[in-house]
Subunit: 130 residues, 4 copies
């Protein structure tokens, strides 16, 4: 029996990995994260596409969130097929084969005190014609 | 006559209680909170489930919000059936027997100046098949 | 012809006016605000109700947003029928006779550097039975 | 074949460009931004209207987001038909000829440490009667 919650497509228009950090790593390293909860009974497979201002989109980055688990992914840590450059504006599209919920958070420690921001990502059902 | 507002299931994918704090307790203790408003005429009973990255979900934490009242709960203060460990990523699912509205807030005072972030939680109607 | 945007009922579960401030007033005074845009062709009349943890709701606070205007209201400045106490958790319900859009922002300058948080309020159509 | 995501009308009720900044420009200049992702196969044309508290709305500011690209626009940088004054409350309405997703972010460096806030803008389908 399914207990899945959420939807299968999420968008985060804001994205920017600060170049610099203050404070002990990795906890206070400047980072941009997306937190994913999979409340369902099967593992969810994510496909992340990253959009830039002046080149074709990057990715897909393939990730997994096991059943009844959360994963807090850092964009800083994405490596294959290519790392996201620091100091560069980007957006992300997160597609999942099963319903999940996604939240976006940035910790910015470029200056000596850290700053935080967060928002639930934009949920966007796949259209029938997709 | 009912005056209830909101929905009965809310999700907060981000969760992390910082290990350290600066400033006078409890006001400036690092904390992660969820604020719940029950605008209706009967008490709402909440059931909070906490999801982790590497173990089965914890809870349920049972809470109540009286009629026409708000409660600002700190995840730090949840005790039974078990406290949420600090310095650990988690997500939460908040289910209510009556409609409520939920907002997520973190005050982080790990460094000498505090940082704040907030978002309305993700509202998620219970599906007919649940 | 109407050009109104938004909905007529908004909820902000989080509310807390810090007791203290650092920095030049009024710009950097700790405050909790709700920003309202009325894109329509007629003035919108707001009725704000404030919910507390241990007493009956306060208000209504009656406010107006002229046609094609925005107003950034501070909860700190609400006076009639009674000011909202500082250092006290509250929630707010904002009802309008015409569609508007509402965003919640807090500037906290309790410590020497200010912190910011924001979210679009929760939009909540009035049910047919209300 | 279309791959567009989002909707064509977005509202950001909060808007305020701080007068002052600390830290290296332009990265840490106080700014108010809206990030737009156009995941579709054709360029999206934006029309931004800015609402004030005591005068008629300004704009339209005409902008473009190419196909499969993101643009992180700063309100500070809008010039024609007129710059947005600093230290002044405003709201914005962002209309697009194709579906996009919009997120609002402010970096405030009025004091020596920066503060951040963000939210997905309010999505608002154009009504049939518009």
């Amino acid at each position: 029996m399914e207990n899945a919650i959420g939807t299968t497509r999420w968008v985060i228009p804001e994205g920017y990995i600060p170049r610099e950090s203050h404070g002990p790593a990795p906890e206070l390293t400047s980072h941009e994260a997306f937190c994913v909860i999979n409340a369902g009974e099967r593992a969810a497979h994510l496909r992340v596409t990253v959009f830039y201002t002046d080149r074709e989109p990057g990715g897909p980055y393939l990730l997994e969130v096991p059943a009844r688990r959360t994963r807090h992914f850092r964009f800083n840590d994405l490596e294959a097929p290519e790392p996201i450059p620091v100091g560069t504006p980007y957006s992300s599209l997160i597609e999942s084969d099963l319903p999940v919920v996604v939240q976006h958070t940035r910790l910015d420690s470029r200056q000596s005190e850290n700053a935080l921001m967060t928002t639930i990502a934009y949920p966007c059902e796949r259209a029938a014609s997709d």
